[in-house]
Assembly symmetry: C2
Homo-oligomer: 320 residues x 2
């Protein structure tokens, strides 16, 4: 509590500007983007997706800072007590307690998401369509990646509850997710007209086994990949899905000739195999076969961290 004496002042200043800290990537990227788009003919294609990028959300505050809500609100209003905590929380009009089961990204999580956005731009694979799990950390990750690429105004984020992780991970019941209206008011470019495959209430209407969870996500992924979308990319639309570590493993199992399921044991420590902001990319061939595209995006490596997935685990053989 000795720290951040000036937090109120700062919080005031931040509100006056923006709560997206590292925006200057934008300035650079917008120039690149303009250069790229001006050199590309804007012919519009309508087709099912030809590439699917599945990404895990970034580092979460509750993972690093146990009891962060209590500790940061000692003096009433939220105050960061570590420089990796956001100085201000997303301006969602909801009680602090709602962050309990619906955490936010750390500052490093934000930077990691921005780096992925930079990678999408540099490797010319910006998505035409973006879906996220309703978890705030996933919506933030998608938003920061798109903003870093200067592309957030081009794509509205579709919130899809059918992409949320297994509800058995939430013994306290349904988290209080932000509503579309709250997200929109907090400057997230969400698609308020999107009709989800499943509502949040429907998701919580009955217990769900691990097998049912896997089925739900794999079906959802395959279904949204078949939807006809619009793109100016001559090769067809690019789809991005921001979800959980398990979403990536289920995607690897879904986008192949024969579906492979993930077992309960495999999903137990799935985060170890698919790090924060890891990406998996799948391309559809002319013959409508999916294949894994290992080098579609550059890796992110820092001390004790790589965004690379554990391929040995992801591409495990299984006798079913």
């Amino acid at each position: 509590t000795k720290h951040f004496r000036n937090a109120q002042l700062l919080s005031f200043a931040v509100k006056r500007t923006t709560n997206f800290f590292y925006t200057s990537i934008n300035e650079i990227m917008r120039i690149v983007l303009r250069t790229i788009s001006s050199s590309t003919p804007q012919k519009v294609v309508r087709a099912a997706c030809r590439r699917v990028i599945v990404m895990r959300h970034g580092e979460r505050v509750d993972d690093l800072f146990p009891a962060w809500i209590q500790k940061s609100c000692m003096s009433g209003a939220y105050r960061a007590y570590d420089l990796n905590m956001p100085l201000v929380l997303p301006q969602l009009d909801r009680p602090m307690a709602h962050f309990e089961d619906d955490t936010v990204l750390t500052e490093m999580g934000t930077v990691l998401a921005q780096m992925v956005g930079r990678g999408l731009l540099i490797n010319k694979t910006l998505p035409d369509v973006v879906y996220t799990s309703p978890a705030l950390r996933c919506v933030q990750t998608a938003s920061f990646a798109l903003k870093a690429a200067g592309y957030d105004e081009h794509v509205k984020i579709r919130i899809e509850p059918a992409l949320f992780e297994n509800i058995t991970l939430y013994p306290g019941g349904q988290p209080k997710f932000a509503t579309l209206a709250q997200l929109a008011a907090a400057d997230f470019n969400v698609d308020i007209d999107y009709k989800p495959i499943m509502t949040i209430d429907k998701l919580w209407s009955q217990p769900e086994s691990i097998e049912e969870y896997g089925d739900r996500v794999q079906k959802t992924l395959l279904q949204i990949a078949e939807r006809v979308e619009t793109s100016t990319n001559p090769y067809g639309p690019i789809l991005m899905v921001v979800g959980h570590a398990s979403t990536l493993d289920l995607a690897v199992g879904a986008f192949r000739e024969h579906i492979r399921r993930s077992t309960r044991t495999e999903l137990l420590n799935i985060g170890l195999f698919y790090p924060f902001c890891a990406t998996t990319v799948f391309d559809r061939s002319m013959a409508h076969q999916w294949s894994y595209s290992e080098n579609a995006l550059p890796p992110i490596t820092y001390r004790n961290f790589t965004s690379k997935i554990n391929s040995r685990f992801a591409f495990r053989e299984r006798i079913e």
Copy 2:
């Protein structure tokens, strides 16, 4: 090499803007700073330093990416092959080979330095005087921290070769450090009028034992702390020194009643005890005694990383 096809385009765009990526902290911080300074009477004090902040440089590229110079220059010009590598190198007018023994910060290293800058600002302990080792990673760290605090135009960085790490770590001989003119041209706010305690050539004029190295740094730290400086801070000037992991251990040993030296064995893996961008802060009492100030700056914690020093090691007892 499949990655970053657009690197040339990007590099062009970056040159047109800036090579400081996460500048938007600046916008926020500048407002805070204006608010802070306008509410503080600008009375000038001239005195010896009353606080010394000793900081280690951020994450270095060569530590994560072996043979990064060769690998990134396969096609002639420098191209990043990981999103944690800088997209463009500091615009120093010197051959790539000079980065071999004088490496640059990674992107995460830059962000970490910026976070420390944010901490300096929030905790109202911005330095009046800044010294760095001549190593580029140290100059960059100081510069990014000051820029993030919106304070870089207020403080000229003094490059002090007497703060460089032990020369025996460089069996290949004297690294080709950037000159003051090169640094100034690359937008580092260096003090071109500063007369260093020791020139680089002098430093390399004779072999140096571990004991001599420790003496050199501890003497330098104590000497610069006694210099009379100007400050608008009523409590007296604040000094910041950006150096190496060993600099922090030697500082802990110097700013106390009786000097404690660091042994060869202790300095061997000193980086384990003083992480990247770790800070140690020392305050001088009215009675001119130095004491360690543990909570002067907020920590930075992320997955598998803390900027906190290992206090058990730093404050070890020793029978001499």
